[in-house]
Symmetry: C2
Subunit: 154 residues, 2 copies
Amino acid sequence: MSDLKESTKSTSVVYNGDFLDVRRDEVLLPNGKTGSREWINHPGAVVIIPILPDSKIGLIRQYRYAAKSEFIELPAGKLDKNEKPEDCAVRELQEEIGYKAGKMKFLARIHPAIGFANEIMSVFLAEKLEKNNPDGIVFTILCDRGERYTSILD
Amino acid sequence: MSDLKESTKSTSVVYNGDFLDVRRDEVLLPNGKTGSREWINHPGAVVIIPILPDSKIGLIRQYRYAAKSEFIELPAGKLDKNEKPEDCAVRELQEEIGYKAGKMKFLARIHPAIGFANEIMSVFLAEKLEKNNPDGIVFTILCDRGERYTSILD
C-alpha cells in the first residue's frame, strides 16, 4: 500500500448537473490529519487516432465552450453508461468522422486532469477505415503522419 | 469568427469550494437554439521537465485522490493568484524537487481537460539546475532521457 495514501472518511455530492458530478470528500491524510478533497466524478473517455485510407490522420474542428475557442482535435468522447472504451471508440469515430474501423487498437490509458478528476481516457489507433456515412464528415481535416501539424485557421 | 461559436447568455457559479469553482452557463448555440454548459473555472497550471545535473529527468511520486492511486509524475502545480506561468514553474520546481533552474524554457501550452475546464497548462523545460534545498527532495525519481520509463512500483 502507498505510504502517501489518503483514505476516504466521508463523501458528498456537492453539485450534480447535467454534465458534471462534483464531489467533496473528507479524507484521512498520511500524517494522521484530516483534510478535504474536491473532485469530478467522470465516466471516462476515449480519444482516437484515425488513419484514413489515404494514410492521413483524420481530425475534427470543435468549439470548446470552457476554453472559449475553436480547436482542431482528434475525435474523442465520453463513455455512455456501461459502455466499454473500445465500443465508445467505434461509436465516436462513426459519429464524428463517419468511418467504420476494421481495426481498433488500444494504445494507452491517460489521466488528463489528474489533479481534480478521476477521468481515464483510453487512446486508440483506428486502422482499416471504411467510409460508411458520407454525411457524417462535417469538419474532417487531414494531415500527414509524421508531418508537423500547422493550424489551418490562421 | 468561428461558425461553431457558442455565445454566453448568462453564467452562474453552482459550486465554489476550497479548490473547485464550478460554473453553469446558458449559451446560444450556432443553430440559434439555447443550451447549457457546465465547466470548471481553473487558474491554470504548469508542468516542468527538469533536466538534472546528471542529465536525467527528475520525477516525483504523488498520491492523486481523485484517481485513488499513486503516480510517478513530472513536477507540476497550479498558478497562484496573479502568478505568471514561468514564476510558477520556478516555484514548483523548488517546492517539489528542491532545485533552482538556471534556465526555464517555455515549450507549449496544452488544454488537459478541454471538455469541461478552461485550464491552460504551460509546459516548461528546466535546465542548468542547482540543488538548493536538500530537504526538498522527497520523492525524486530519475530516468534517462530517451529511455522508455517503466514503473518502479511493480
